[in-house]
C-alpha cells in the first residue's frame, strides 16, 4: 500500500465527481428528496377505513350501534345502501373496504335479550389492512356488547363484574405510529441503493472508455485503486447518512433513543460493505448497462423486500430466511431500529454488527480478487 498513489486516485476521482455536478447534486439531493417524500407519504396506519352500511333494521338500537363506528377515528362511513348490487360495486370499485349488514330483526333480537347476527363483509384482497380493520370492528362490537351486558346487569342490581382487565402496553411506539419504524427502514434502503449506485458504474466506466488500461499501466496496485476510488464515495455516502439522520430527528421527530456516535460508526461499517459491493459489481460486469441492471437486481428489491423493512423475516420460509443473511440492509435495519426505537447499545447488537463486518470483509476481498483477475 502506498499512500501517495491512493491519494492520487482519490484526487482524480474527486475531480471527476465535481466536474459532473449533476450527478453529485443527485447523489446528495436524491436521498433528501426521497426521505422527505416517503417520510410524509408512507404510512401503514390503518385508519379512516371506508365503510358502507346496509341497515335493514333502521331502529334506534341499530342507530346506536352505528354511532360507535361514526365516533371511531378508524372508520369513515362512506355511504348507506339498501341494494346489494350497489354495495357490491362499492367494493369492486375500491370505494369501500367493508360492508356492515344489519339484519331486519336486529332490534327485536337485542330487545328480547338474544344474540343478533351482524354480518361484516370485507375486501380481503389487501389481507393486512383487512386483518387490522376486522380487529377494529371486533373491538367496537365487543365494547358495545360489554355495554349491553352492564346495562342488563344493572337492571338486576349487579354492578360491573368484568372478570379480567387486560391492559395492553405497546413498547417503544405507544401510539403505533408506523412512521417510527418506516423512517429508520427508509434510511437503510435509500442508503443501500445510493451506495451501490454511486460506485457500481465507476469501474465499468473506466473499462468502457478505455482509461482502465492507462491506470493498469501505472504502478498502482489493485488494492490501492479500489481504496482510492472508495474514499470519495464514502465521503458522499457519509454526508447522505448525516443528512438523513438529521432529517429523521428534526423533521420527522422519530425518537432517537440510543447513542448517536454508535449510529455513525455502524453506518460507516454499512457504507463500507455496500460501496465495495457496488464496486465489485462494476468490476465483474465491465459494462455500464449490465452493471446497472446487476446493481438494481441486487440492491433495491432485496433491500426493500428481504430486509425486514415491511415484511417480517420471522414469517418467511426457512430457505428465504437463509437468503436474507446476505442482504446487508437486513442488519442495518435491525441496527437502526434498535438504536432509534429501542435505544439499545452494542451489547444487544453484537450479532448484526458481526454479520455486517463479515459482509464488508468478504466483499472487499472479493472485489480485490476479481480485479486482479480482470487485470491479468
Amino acid at each position: 500500500m502506498n499512500l501517495k498513489r491512493i491519494k492520487a486516485i482519490t484526487r482524480k476521482e474527486f475531480i471527476q465527481i465535481i466536474r459532473d455536478p449533476r450527478s453529485l447534486g443527485m447523489a446528495i439531493a436524491f436521498p433528501m428528496l426521497l426521505l422527505t417524500l416517503f417520510g410524509y407519504a408512507l404510512s401503514l396506519d390503518v385508519d379512516n377505513v371506508p365503510l358502507v352500511i346496509w341497515n335493514q333494521d333502521k331502529s334506534q338500537v341499530s342507530q346506536d350501534y352505528i354511532l360507535n363506528f361514526k365516533a371511531s377515528p378508524y372508520f369513515k362511513i362512506v355511504g348507506y345502501s339498501d341494494n346489494y348490487k350497489e354495495l357490491q360495486s362499492y367494493v369492486d370499485k375500491n370505494k369501500a373496504f367493508m360492508i356492515l349488514v344489519i339484519p331486519p330483526d336486529f332490534s327485536s333480537l337485542i330487545n328480547s335479550k338474544q344474540s343478533a347476527p351482524v354480518q361484516l363483509l370485507v375486501d380481503g384482497s389487501d389481507s393486512n389492512t383487512a386483518t387490522i380493520a376486522i380487529g377494529y370492528v371486533t373491538a367496537v362490537t365487543a365494547g358495545y356488547n360489554r355495554k349491553l351486558a352492564i346495562d342488563s346487569l344493572s337492571h338486576l342490581g349487579v354492578r360491573d363484574i368484568t372478570p379480567v382487565d387486560m391492559r395492553t402496553r405497546i413498547w417503544f411506539n405507544q401510539d403505533l405510529k408506523s412512521r417510527n419504524f418506516i423512517i429508520p427502514g427508509l434510511i437503510a434502503i435509500i442508503m443501500m441503493v445510493i451506495a451501490a449506485l454511486l460506485t457500481s458504474l465507476t469501474v465499468a466506466r473506466e473499462w468502457e472508455r478505455g482509461t482502465m488500461e492507462q491506470l493498469i499501466s501505472t504502478p498502482i496496485k489493485p488494492r490501492e485503486l479500489i481504496l482510492g476510488k472508495f474514499i470519495p464515495y464514502f465521503v458522499i455516502g457519509f454526508v447522505d447518512v448525516l443528512i438523513a439522520i438529521l432529517m429523521g430527528e428534526f423533521i420527522f421527530q422519530v425518537p432517537l433513543r440510543g447513542s448517536v456516535v454508535l449510529l455513525f460508526i455502524l453506518s460507516s461499517l454499512f457504507l463500507t460493505g455496500t460501496l465495495t459491493m457496488g464496486m465489485l459489481i462494476s468490476i465483474v460486469a465491465k459494462k455500464q448497462l449490465l452493471a446497472s441492471q446487476m446493481a438494481m437486481v441486487t440492491t433495491f428489491l432485496p433491500a426493500f423486500l428481504l430486509s425486514g423493512f415491511v415484511y417480517s423475516i420471522a414469517n418467511m420460509p426457512t430457505i428465504i430466511q437463509a437468503i436474507t443473511y446476505i442482504v446487508p440492509a437486513r442488519y442495518f435495519i435491525t441496527i437502526l431500529k434498535g438504536i432509534y426505537l429501542k435505544g439499545v447499545g452494542l451489547e444487544i447488537l453484537v450479532i448484526p454488527v458481526l454479520f455486517l463486518s463479515v459482509f464488508a470483509f468478504v466483499v472487499v476481498n472479493l472485489a480485490t480478487m476479481a480485479f486482479k483477475k480482470k487485470v491479468t
Binding site: L121, T162, N180
Partner: protein, 376 residues
C-alpha cells in the same frame, strides 16, 4: 418504412441478446425474484413468539395463557420471572409479546373481583403490533364472556341471557386472508417495471455515448421509425417477462386468476406503453448511462413506494394522493389485482385502462418531440 423498422428491430435484438450475461439477466432474475419475493412478501402474522411472566402461577393464570396458545397464533417461547428478562427479550427481538400476571390474579378472579393482567407488545414494527393486539382482543373477548357467564351464575344463582351482537366476518376474494394473494400480482408489476424501464432508458443513451446514434441519424430512417424499432424489442421482452412471472405466480404459488387472461395482457400492453415511454423520455434528458440510470432510479423508487404496492394510497396526505394520479404503476396494480383476485372485467377496470392509455400517449408524444428536437 416497415423494412427500415424491421432492420432496427433485428439490430436491437442482436445487440441485446449477443451478450450471454445479458441474456440470462433478462429472463432468469425475473423468475428467481418472483420465487424469492413471492415467499418473502407476506404480512401474515403467525407464530407470535410470546414470553410468559407469571408471578401468580395459579391455575387461573395458566388457564388464560392456555387460551392464548390454543389460538394457534401465539407460541410460548420462554417463561421469565424478572422485568430485566422481559426487557432483554424484547430488545433482542427474541419475543415480541410478553404476558404478565402479578401475584393475586387467581385470588381476585376467585373472589369475583376484577383481576388485572398486562400484555406488552413490541411496537417497533407497528403493523405486526396492531395485528397482535387485534388477536389478543379476540381471545380476551371469548375468555371474558365465558367467565362472565360463570360469574353471573354464581352471583345470581341462575343464568341470564345477555343481548349481544354476534359478528360474523367474511372476507371476499381472499377467504383466508393470505397476504401472498395480495402481493404476488404486485410483485409481477414491480419486476416488469424495473426491467423494461431501465433497459429502454439505457439502451438509447448507450448509442449516444458510443456515438452510433449519429450513424443512425444520417441513415434514411426517420425518428418515428427509429423509436418504434428501438422500443418494440423491449416491449416484446417485457411481455415475455410478464408471461414468465405470471406462470410462476399461478403455478408455483397457486395464486388464483379469476378474471380474463386476455384482458390482463391487453392491459399489460397499455402499461408497457407508459414504462417504455418513460424510458424513452429519460434517454432524451440523460447524456451518459450513469445519468440515465440515476434518473430511471429517481423515477422507479418513488413510483413503486407511492403506488399502493404496500403502503395504501388512501393513507397518504391529500397532496401526495394527487401526485399518484400520474403514477402508471398505481393503475396497473389496481388492474392486475382486480383481474387476479376479484375477477372483475373491463366494465370495472376501464377508468384505470383509460388512464394508462392517456398517460402512455402523453409521455410518448412528449418524449418523441424531445427526441426529434435533439436529433434536428
Amino acid at each position: 418504412m416497415f423494412e427500415r423498422i424491421r432492420q432496427i428491430i433485428i439490430k436491437e435484438f442482436i445487440q441485446i441478446l449477443r451478450d450471454p450475461r445479458m441474456r440470462t439477466l433478462l429472463f432468469l432474475p425475473p423468475i428467481i425474484q418472483m420465487i424469492i419475493f413471492g415467499y418473502a412478501a407476506s404480512t401474515d402474522v403467525k407464530n407470535i413468539q410470546m414470553a410468559v411472566y407469571d408471578l401468580d402461577n395459579t391455575p387461573e393464570s395458566r388457564d388464560l395463557v392456555r387460551e392464548f396458545t390454543y389460538s394457534d397464533y401465539f407460541h410460548v417461547k420462554h417463561y421469565i420471572y424478572t422485568d430485566r428478562a422481559a426487557e432483554e427479550m424484547i430488545d433482542k427481538s427474541d419475543v415480541n409479546t410478553v404476558i404478565r400476571f402479578n401475584l393475586g390474579f387467581g385470588n381476585d378472579l376467585n373472589a369475583n373481583r376484577q383481576a388485572q393482567a398486562q400484555l406488552i407488545i413490541d411496537g417497533s414494527d407497528s403493523n405486526t403490533a396492531a395485528v397482535i393486539s387485534a388477536y389478543a382482543n379476540q381471545i380476551m373477548e371469548r375468555y371474558s364472556s365465558r367467565l362472565l357467564d360463570k360469574r353471573v351464575q354464581v352471583l345470581l344463582n341462575r343464568s341470564i341471557r345477555f343481548p349481544k351482537i354476534d359478528l360474523r366476518t367474511r372476507a371476499w376474494f381472499n377467504e383466508n386472508l393470505l397476504s401472498r394473494d395480495f402481493f404476488i400480482p404486485g410483485v409481477i408489476a414491480l419486476i416488469v417495471t424495473v426491467v423494461t424501464l431501465l433497459l429502454t432508458s439505457m439502451a438509447i443513451v448507450k448509442e449516444k455515448e458510443i456515438g452510433t446514434i449519429e450513424q443512425l441519424i444520417v441513415s434514411p430512417i426517420n425518428s418515428w421509425e427509429l423509436i418504434l424499432g428501438k422500443l418494440l424489442p423491449f416491449a416484446l421482452i417485457g411481455l415475455f417477462d410478464i408471461l414468465l412471472v405470471t406462470v410462476v405466480g399461478v403455478f408455483w404459488f397457486d395464486v388464483p386468476i379469476r378474471g380474463n387472461l386476455l384482458l390482463l395482457f391487453g392491459s399489460a400492453i397499455l402499461y408497457l406503453l407508459t414504462t417504455l415511454g418513460i424510458g424513452l423520455f429519460i434517454s432524451t434528458i440523460a447524456n451518459t448511462q450513469q445519468e440515465a440510470m440515476m434518473t430511471a432510479f429517481f423515477f422507479i423508487f418513488p413510483a413503486i413506494l407511492l403506488s399502493g404496492f404496500v403502503f395504501p394510497i388512501y393513507n397518504m396526505p391529500k397532496l401526495i394522493q394527487y401526485i399518484t394520479y400520474v403514477n402508471p404503476i398505481r393503475y396497473f396494480l389496481v388492474i392486475i389485482r382486480g383481474i387476479f383476485l376479484k375477477g372483475v372485467g373491463i366494465e370495472i377496470l376501464w377508468p384505470q385502462m383509460m388512464a394508462l392509455f392517456a398517460l402512455g400517449i402523453v409521455i410518448f408524444t412528449l418524449s418523441t418531440l424531445r427526441f426529434r428536437k435533439r436529433l434536428g
